[in-house]
Amino acid sequence: MCIRLPNWPQERLCRKRPGPEAERAPADPALDQSPKFGLGAMASARLNLRRGGHALPDMPTEAGGHGTRKSGFDKALVADPSADLSALRKLARWCRRYSPLVGVGESDVPDSLLLDVGGSAHLFGGEESLARQVVDDLSRFGLTAHVAIADTVGAAWALAHDGQPAPTRQPKAARQPKAVREPAIAPAGQHGDRLRTLPVEALRLAGDVVATLDELGIRTIGQLVALPRETLPSRFGPTVLRRLDQALGELPELIEPERPEEPLEARWGSEHPIEDRFAIETILSRLLDELRGRIERRNEGILEFLVELQSPGRDAVRFAVGLVRPTLESRRLSELVRLQLERAAVRGVVGLIVRITRRAPLAADQSTIFDTVRRDGHGTLAWLLDRLSNRLGRDAVLSPKLRPDFQPERAVEYRHVVGPGLRARDGKREPAGSRSVPCRPLRLLPEPAPVVVWSIVPDGPPVRLRWRNADCRIVRCEGPERLETGWWREGPVSRDYFRIDTEDGQRLWLFRSADDAWFVHGEF
C-alpha cells in the first residue's frame, strides 16, 4: 500500500500530531489560523484580512505580538524539507497500527508512506475497507491522502500518484473545496494492466529522464514497455529499467521500515522500601551511568531527563532535571539530581525510573540559546544556570527580552534558561544603549499599588501623596506620558504616567487610570 500526502508540508503545519489531541482540531477550516506554507500563507493572510474588516495600522503587530490569537498572517514560513521528513517519519510510526512494516517512500519531496499490508488487510475487513479507513483516519487529522494498493511497491506508488486523475466523490459539505479521492486498488496480478495507461512520471523517474522520454513521444508506461528491453539502459540510463521492473514485479523491492525509537530508560526495583536518601542518590547515579553508556556511543549528551520515585500507597514523585547544554558528566548529573531530591518528599521508595527525554549532539552545541553561555568556554556559567534552575525551579531562572509593547507589564517577556522551546538566537546583537528605551523605573511593582494623591486643580499634576504611611510633598513632576492600548486587547489600559520626586529624594512612577484612580507603579 502507498499513502500519498500531496499537501504534506502545508497540512502538517496546520494540524497537530496524529493522536488524541488531533481530535480537538477545529472542524471548520475557516477557523483554522495556523501558519501555513507558501501559497497557503497568502491564502491565510487573505482570510484574516477578510475576517478583520477594515484593518488598523498597528493591528497586525498587536495580534501577532501577543499570542492572544495564533495567527499566521504576519509571517511567511520557509520550506523545511528535513522537518517535513522527520514529521513524516513520525506519522509512519503512527501508521504501524495498519501494518507492522511501514516506511517512508524514497523521493526528492517526502510525501508518501509505504506499507506492507499483505498480512494485515484481512484484519480490517479487506483491502478496500483498510484503504478507506486509512483515508478517513488521516482526514480527521486534516490530511489529504491518496491511497493505492497493488502487488508491488512501485505499482502502488504509481497508482497513488497518478492512478486516478479526477476526483470521483465530493464530501458532504458542498462548500468545502477539497475532494476525497477513492482508493486505487489493483486486484492481485492485474497491476501490470493498470500501469500501462499511466504516464511515465508514475515510475519515480528523475525530471530529465521524463523530459527525454517526452521528447521521444513516450508518455505512458505502456509505450515504454513496448520498447526493446535491452536498449533501455543505454538510451535512458539504468534507473528506467530498474523502476520499470520494480513496478512490474520483475525485481524485488523492499520497504525500509521505520523502527520506533528505543526509549532511553533505566529502572530499578526493590522489595523493601528504601528510606535512606543517600541510597536513593546512589541508585539514581547508577541508573544514570547505565543510560550514559547507551547514549555515549551516539556522541550525544543529556539535555533533560525525568526521574520517577515510586512508593507503595502514595503517588509517585516525579521531577524533570534540565540542563543548559548537553553533558555526560556523571558528577554533574548526580549533583543536579541531588539538588532536586533535597526538595522532594521521598519516603519508602520501591521503584526508581530514569528516562532521558531530550538529548543533543555533544560536539555541535546548538541547543544553547545564550551567546554568553556559548562564549563561556569552561562551562562554568552553564553549570551555574543548571544548578540554579534545578534547585529553584525552571520558572525561577529566566532570560528577559524586550517586546515592542506600550503596556509596561507586557514590554518584557521571560524565557526559561533551561528546558524545551529554546530557539537559537540569530547573530544580530544590539549593544547596550543602542535601542532608545523611554525612561523607565528599575523596579516595577508586580501589581500597581493604589495611592492617595492630591492635586491643586482637577486632572492636574499631583502635588502631595501618601505613600508607605507617610505624607510626601512632591517637589518635581514630569508628565503626563499617556500609555494606551488598543480596544481589541483584553483588558485595555489607558493611563497617564507621571515621574515624580518627593522631598525625601524618592523618585516614583505614578499613573492615573481612566477612572481617575492613582497608583504607584515603579521606583526609580
Partner: protein, 249 residues
Amino acid sequence: MFSYRDGDYEARSMTDKRENIRRELAQQLEKLCALRRPEGRDGVTPTGIPPLDDLLPDGGFRDGTFIEWLGESASGAEQLALLAARPMLRDRGPLIVIDAEKAFYPPAAAPTVDLEQVIAVRPATLADALWALEQSLQCPGVGLTLCRLERLSARAGRRLQLAAERGGGLGFVVRPPAARGQPSWSDLQLSVESVSSESPGRRWQVELLRSRRGAGERAVLMEYDDATNDVHSPSELAPRAPVPKAARA
C-alpha cells in the same frame, strides 16, 4: 593634676595614636588580602564615573569583591550601582540579578546593559536567595551579581565575601540605610542618598562608609543625566546643594 587644656592635648594624642595603629593595621590587612587573592585576579576596573572613581580607594572596583550599597527604596542606589558596573559588564560578561521580589524591570536596564547578558533569578525564600547569591558569586563566568537584601547576618555576609573572592566577579548587594553601622564583611560599603536639586538631572550624594583601607568619611555629589544615561560631577553653574556632614563620627 591636669588642666582642661592638658586633657584635651592628651585626648588628641591618643586619637592620633589610634589613627596610626588603625592605618597600620589596614595596610597589613591589605597586604594579607593581596596574598590570598588568586593569581591574575587583582585587576581594578574603573567605574567610568569620575567622582565615584575618586571616592573609591583603588580608583575603581577590585575583582572578586563584595560591595554593599545602602540606600532607600526609591533613592536610585540600584541604578547607580548598575551604571558603575557598566565597564565590568562590558569586559567580563553576564549580569545575574537575584530578584526575590520579582520587581526588577529589564527595560530600565536596557540602556545600561545588553539584555542578552542578563539573567533574572527569582528565588522564593530568603534562604534560597542567599544560596543563589552565593552560587552566583563563586562562579567565575559571572561578571556581576546584583541583589537587594533587607537583612544580612554577619555569617551570611562572610560567606558571600569569600564566595566573591573565589569567583573573581563583583557582588553588589543593595540594602536599606538601616544597615549602616551594623557589622559587615563587605569590602566596600557605600551610602547613596538622593539629593533634591534645581537642576533637571538626578543628584546623588555618595559616601564611602567603609573599606579595607579605612573610610575617609568622604562624600561626593554626582548627577545623572537621563538623556545621555551618564553620571558626572554636578555642573559648576548649577546652584550647589549643601553637602551634609557625615552622620557617623
